[in-house]
Amino acid sequence: MTDREVVVTSRGVVVTSRGVVVTGLGVVTSVGHSVEAFWRALLAGAVGTGPARTIDLAGLRSDRAGEVHGFDAAPYFRRIAIAGHQRATQLAVAAARMAVDDAGVALDEVGERAGIVMGAVVANRPGLEAPYLALRGGAAVELSLDNHDVCLIAEAPAIELGLRGPVLVLPTACAAGNSAIGCAADLIADGHADVMLAGGVDELSPAMFVMFSQFDSLSPDVLRPFDRDRRGLILSEGAGVVVLESAAHAEARGARSYGRVAGHGNNADAHDMTHPHPDGLGAEVAMRAALSDAGLAAEQIDFVCAHGTGTPANDGIEARAIRRVLGERADRVPVTSIKSSLGHSQGAASAIEAVACLLAMRDGVVPPTMNIRTLDPECPIDVVMDRPRAQRIDVAVNNAFGFGGNISCVIFAR
């Protein structure tokens, strides 16, 4: 990734470094509706989950959710109308607009060379639940899927922002945000675009709460990653988007960089639709593939932003996979799961965690994992608990695992 290359830009012929850098960030989360509010809340140990107010969870094993309260997406819709757009589309447009404003990039000038890749689990589907129930009740309801096409989470931001290049959606379960970032970085590296937005989004889905309740994977109080007595996850909603640019494009316009996408690995656990491989094989393979793609060694990892869902199944397996990759350095390489603060925002989760990785690199501080009472001895890693830890970070690993065995690991580097 240190190769020099000759690039023709609007400023003429430039000799520059190859690679993909991150130049803008945007998030909407249960602990903050802007990047700085989110980051302050994480460092302060805020917990954004609690009894659900916007969704009926009666009869389930938990009444907890990580809701985004009091957020108005309308100001982010400057060109297109917000009317008719489902909540997931609205959150996606808001986070995308936020990231572009942060990057200060004039997208209309890039147009055909700019695009977006978004990930999601359910995206716009929850809005179909009520009409289908009404249909069953005998109502004559219009059941067009026009506003429920998952593509709108990428197409609406694309229209809003003037992106006319690759516009893709990767619904790869809870690994979707990372999958999207990896795909977008590839599209730049492969010459399909110079600027790509990438991220993930999801709104709360009653059906998903039912599914995790059935699997007895919902925590009754708070989400406790790596805790000995962890009971499960808490579903949340939100969006995270990053702006990626070729290093050449970013340099040519004098953009500030949060870091580069050094590499990524995408693998299937190839084991079971819901249970991770008992040895975390897929997770380990993906971390090693990402290191290989980045041309980095495990010894260079400074920080692991864990998938850390707080479910009995995930955390021990993930911790052991991390330990196998880090070796004895696992005793001192900080690991955190910000899902303890946000809840598990599904397709958005790893995109929001990517933003946390980049801010951790910028500020030299690892946000804490909250809610741990007793660290699980079966999780032999260095979890940053309760308070942030100051630490220089040059290489951050972001893990994401999903149902179906979808695994995506992205590495960011200074």
Partner: protein, 390 residues
Amino acid sequence: MRDLRKVVITGLGAVSAYGLGADPLWRGLLAGRSCVAPASPTLEDLPAIPAFPASAIGAFSARDVLGKGLRGVCRESQLLLAATLFARRDAGLADGAVARDAEGVFAGTRWAGLEDYLHFHLERSIWGPEKVSPTRGPNTGFNAPASHVSIRHDLQGPNLTFASRSSASLDAIGHAADWIRKQRVKIVYAGGIESLSYPRARHLLAAGRPIAEAARPFDARRTGATPGEGAVIVVLEDAEHARARGARILAEVGAWAMAFEPAQPDRAARRVLRAAGPADAIFGSASGDRALDAWEAAAIAADHADVPVCAVKGAAGEWEGASGALQVLAATRALADRVVPPTAGFERLDPELPAIRVAGAARPGALASVAVVTLHGSGRASALALRAAP
């Protein structure tokens, strides 16, 4: 600088209204024969939908094709599993023949999981959360078909699902080829799955557009698309890997391009066709839809007016997320068998469209390269170039 390898197609698999495997589908396309019959998808406890003409997969016995172990595997996943099985056989690949992390699966779909999602929700409302079928949950996601393929065939390489409307499976194939070129993986089973589900049928009714009994792409008398369903898997393989194991090479994969022009779909199609490069035939997206066909005709006329065009949706119907893979299957067989299939239903070019070369009969002859283009009224277009086997 990494050495970019060539990517070839070494196998094809499909399940469609024409039957099991790529061969019956290809024979149907080559004969310009459609398999349209009245369809009325159902969903437990919901009102019946009046029958409409569709290219639907009839009786499909997953057990006969796939054997045991199908509990908790939804129909969409079964169809993609079957297409994968046929494609692996066609490519001469057995389980375990390649390192498990050197094989991946990329699938395109527009609506996968939606029927199971709604069914899951309705079951909860009817019977309560404790009585919902617990195996249905993981099938509610778009990623279920590709994930079931990775699990059943023990593919530990990349596992991605694309949902870019009618470009979804073309994008899956295009991106998979890029993964192989970077030498991250040797083989990717790439393709698409779309089923004729109850919510999709409801949507067609709600949209109020006419549904054609016989689709007539580009024809003056066209009235609309015929909905269809199917699963297609294309075996993409590193060319050196394929040669080393003595595989039969059907075609080589060329450039992939995407464009988004929300107000001008024709412009999007023109951009991607240009990026795909010179072509001896175009495998188009035209379905018999009045607007879609006109946009595509305008794009083809701009730079490719003399190139023969084949619209396979005239025979096979509109497969939405799986249609790109259907078009790639046809284009691959056209290169290998040296013949461009006819556009079924086409008799006379709509005089309101610009002059392009569509034919109602098959055109035999060697082809050096072809372009596959997918287009949607949202302004989304993708293209993929394929070349004859070296």
